[in-house]
Symmetry: D2
């Protein structure tokens, strides 16, 4: 079994429109960076939205959280690190670390949990087969 | 024929998340206020999204513009005035005026144009029947 | 001491711009609703941003989380309930419940933690005097 | 005098959070792409926000518009082309063309006008010296 965690890294430039009246990124916009992280993970490891959709599943978020350690400002670049947390439950769990590129300081950390719902709208208690296959391919079973 | 313009008014409180690093509403967020204006218009005059959708049409924007006259800040309330511009073309045209509630100053003005596309994705050159009926009911024909 | 929790309620209409490609409110936009809740709380109980700012403090978020129970859609209205969680720490903690107005179903729940930073940028370990006074006035000490 | 227009090109990946309930990029989000375009222009030609700010000027938008030609979807990448429009007025004018990367189709076009305001808040009728110098350096005078 693969002992190394699956991790994807992506750089995100802070947009001016993402800042707020005190000159830092508005807290709700970090969830855009987390989403960029999940996207990068999906591309790197073949777990894209479309792959899941073509297997008749969507994976809505049921839980998300963020701890803010240091503000990000306009002009700065965020490094988003997205780590896959292996679980036997019918869930996709990620942990995130965001770093400021200029000084490598960790500015935020968080996690998210997604569940499997069929494209017909049925909640899946068990792990879908396509996901089991993906995990096997990644050495996660 | 109705000579009075159809106008809807709606109040919108500026959200903190809508401000940017210089402490004023980010310019792109005024288009959210315009949308609140169209929504208020639709409710007042029975031209909601769902009404159109149930008549097998969606009405995507093809053109929008905004002139910024004075900045809106966090804590302020915008008054959005949405005026229907009658046209024989197969289009829905609105003009917008946004006022700051506290001093009644006009802070922005703009316009938008929407076209008719069937829910099957076909562009409509002629005005749909349901829209002709709506116009007649409003005394616009 | 006041045993009843301080709670503020505010209605928020879902904006079209807040939905995403699967037709429901994008998860990150619930934090806008939480902010509307804090705002309503501040207005009701005299704990506005400006009141704090005039007392030389800002209160940035250091932690936020949300559990998603049921999707909100365009056209729906959210009822945001914001409850003050009393703590001796130099923090402001809120809990949130969001309900769909049409059927009263709880659609999301969450919490947030804010700390006190002086307008000069210094983190405050102890509770600022103005906040102690506010708590006393609310019967929270 | 330089006859070739100054043009900057930047690629922008459509974010899931930027789509709306009919599965395409919400119209107001194209102004984020325009801003990415201005940013890319500033970097390429040395006309960044900070450069202007350090010369005691900010350049707020006074006018923006967009024509929508074809929808952009989640998963697609936009190519934003930002062209400097030379004018003797105390204004910065840009024109934008957005193309879908996959098929090179033009999906949107627009323009923006910015004015010069000193960091003390005074509107500038004449072109600031630093901007004249920048234009000279670019062969635009």
């Amino acid at each position: 079994m693969n002992e190394d965690p699956l991790v994807a890294i992506v750089k995100v430039k802070v947009r001016y429109s993402e800042t707020d009246a005190i000159g830092v990124v508005w807290h709700g916009n970090y969830f855009r960076y987390f989403e960029d992280g999940r996207e990068a993970f999906g591309e790197k490891y073949g777990l894209e939205y479309l792959y899941m959709y073509n297997n008749d599943f969507i994976t809505p978020l049921v839980k998300i959280d963020c701890d803010y350690l240091s503000p990000l400002k306009y002009g700065e670049t965020a490094i988003v690190e997205t780590k896959f947390i292996n679980t036997k439950a019918a869930k996709i769990i990620f942990e995130y670390n965001i770093y400021r590129e200029s000084d490598n300081e960790k500015v935020a950390t968080g996690s998210s949990t997604q569940v499997f719902i069929t494209t017909k709208g049925e909640f899946s208690i068990t792990t879908p087969e396509f996901y089991e296959n993906w995990k096997q391919k990644q050495g996660l079973l």
